[in-house]
Amino acid sequence: MASFWAKEVPATIIIAALLVWIMPMMIGTYTLTVLVIYGMLGFSLGLIWGFGGILCFGQAAFFGLGAYTYAIAAINIGDSTIPMLLAVLVPAAFAALLGAMMFYGRLTDVYLGVITLVVTLILFKFISSTAGPEYVIGKARLGGFNGIPGFQTLNVPGRPNDYIYGDPYFYFCAVLLLIVYLLVSWLLKSSFGRVAVGIRENEVRVALMGYDVSARKTVLFSVGAAVAGLAGALFANWGEIVTPNLFSLGQSAEIIIWCIVGGLGTRIGPIVGAAGLAYLKFLLGQQSMIDNTLLTGIILVLFVLFLPKGLVPAIVSLWRISFGQRRRVPRHGARRLRSRSAGHG
């Protein structure tokens, strides 16, 4: 824990500051903002899937929920501070309920996947069908497939007319991502995080040690949803409109692809995967030779087949092989084994 505060936190902050300083020279901040937001979204799934072993097919549900919560609350309240908080709390509470239902029922892999997928679909179908004027929450009309436009975007707390947009908004998002990253790193370094990784590796053993596996999984799931909800609120501010497409299966698929490509079980992998692939998609969107979806599909298939661990772990191990210090081979074991087999021979 000491080395975490002494080494890792300052190093992360310095690298992040450098990136925030250099990147706007290459890519416009408008695009960069959405890359940062997608990075946060990828990070949320990377947390629960990579460290908790919970494969959620519906991370988009929490993303969309965060965005809708923000939009509805912002229209009703007219100031952005409380809506931002609600956009974190509502998805977290929703995920806690859903997670409690699933994890106390001891559902695993495929069944978990089906339920999260189904919940996303329910939200998508329901929100898409709310076009009529009877679907109103406070002053906000849900608007069906057209979504909700024209809500109060992010402002300086207490001053609804001082909007934060453009370059400052990018810095705001980047700092939030950094804070979330550090908080999650701290969580993973704590005993909670270690037990979570233990559950991923062997659930039965951790349960037999006396830890409440279901409760811990529920909490982790809920934390992941809170991060996704925050990303959703930021996305709503960036796009200035929320539509049911935030809940779509395609969105969920993309989050999973980011994690796979970036690398599961690492913190930075899903962020890199999300930002990288989203930027690739942005570049590919400017040409019309090859369909975008087709390329996304090919990337996913190739990664599952040839690089199932993802980019970041592959680069790290390549780095270790080329430049890293060789770990000393444990000679004791080797010698004993050899002498024993010699004795038998």
């Binding site: 699933m102 495929v110 069944y111 089906v114 919940v119 087709l294 599909g297």
Partner: protein, 288 residues
């Protein structure tokens, strides 16, 4: 009286279409423990094959019942050889890879057919019962799914091929020891599963406007039906299709079609929470 008749027909139709769209996935999942998330896209391709064949001058029924299953089955064969056979036994990885394949096929169909809605008219005309109009094509779908279930049962239970397939499904090592290569059995199974998906897509094509992304409408339903059905292939398919079809139609009539869909999905969540191994994990154990 007329209304009761119409409701019963609609109910049967809902169940039959669930059977139809889930059959291909059920075979692949039941036999090989692989979730093929590109299933919806196989159905979409079945629809496009039918439409293309009909515009080229083939008979509608020939196109639906013969050409589409064959073509989609062959595509499935290629997919199995290139991708899926490397991933046997890795459930989550196959799900991800087939999800990638589904995106790939959506992109491919968009490039070939364009992002526009195409369709053909239903080959069987409707008729009226009292004050209500009934779609004659619904009876065709009900008939096809009954024949399909009968055929699946007959093949699996009655023929030597079915016996080998069931053996390989239970104990692949033992089947291999007796001289039947599980790899070839899996290949054949995947062919059959894809062909059934193609058939389903072809038969449903006249009812819906076809777009490259229309597979997405089927995959979730098929996925839910198969998982909720549980380990027994045919009994599970019938049980969960019956249950979900019934529930969704009740809510469709009572409230609205959207609520019908939502009720179906909610029923699935509750069902999986109560019976995590699916319906046949608890009831009808050991049946086919």
């Amino acid at each position: 009286m007329d209304l009761v008749f119409v409701i019963i027909v609609e109910m049967l139709y809902a169940v039959a279409s669930l059977v139809l769209i889930s059959a291909g996935l059920a075979i692949v999942f039941g036999m090989m423990k692989i979730i093929n998330l590109a299933h919806g896209e196989f159905m979409m391709m079945g629809g496009y094959v039918t439409i293309t064949a009909v515009t080229l001058g083939a008979n509608v029924f020939v196109a639906m019942l013969i050409i589409a299953p064959l073509v989609v089955g062959l595509i499935g064969l290629v997919v199995e050889r290139l991708v899926i056979r490397h991933l046997y036994g890795r459930l989550v990885d196959t799900m991800l890879a087939t999800w990638g394949l589904s995106l790939f096929f959506i992109g491919l169909a968009t490039m070939i057919f364009g992002n526009t809605t195409t369709g053909i008219s239903t080959p069987i005309s409707g008729f009226t019962v009292g004050n209500y109009q009934v779609n004659g094509y619904n009876f065709f779908i009900i008939l096809v799914s009954i024949v399909l279930l009968g055929l699946m049962y007959a093949v699996l239970k009655g023929t030597r091929l079915g016996l080998i397939a069931r053996g390989a499904m239970q104990l692949p090592d033992m089947a291999a020891a007796l001289g039947y290569s599980p790899e070839r059995i899996y290949m054949a199974t995947f062919f059959c599963g894809s062909a059934l998906s193609g058939l389903a897509g072809a038969i449903l094509a006249p009812l819906v406007g076809l777009v490259p992304t229309s597979g997405g409408a089927y995959i979730a339903k098929a996925f839910i039906t198969v998982i909720a059905g549980g380990p027994s292939l045919i009994a599970g398919l019938m049980a969960s299709s019956g249950l979900f079809g019934f529930i969704s139609q009740i809510f469709t009539f009572a409230v609205s079609p959207v609520m019908g869909e939502v009720a179906l999905l909610l029923a699935a969540v509750v069902l999986l929470r109560l019976l995590p191994q699916g319906v046949t994990g608890k009831f009808f154990r050991g049946r086919l």
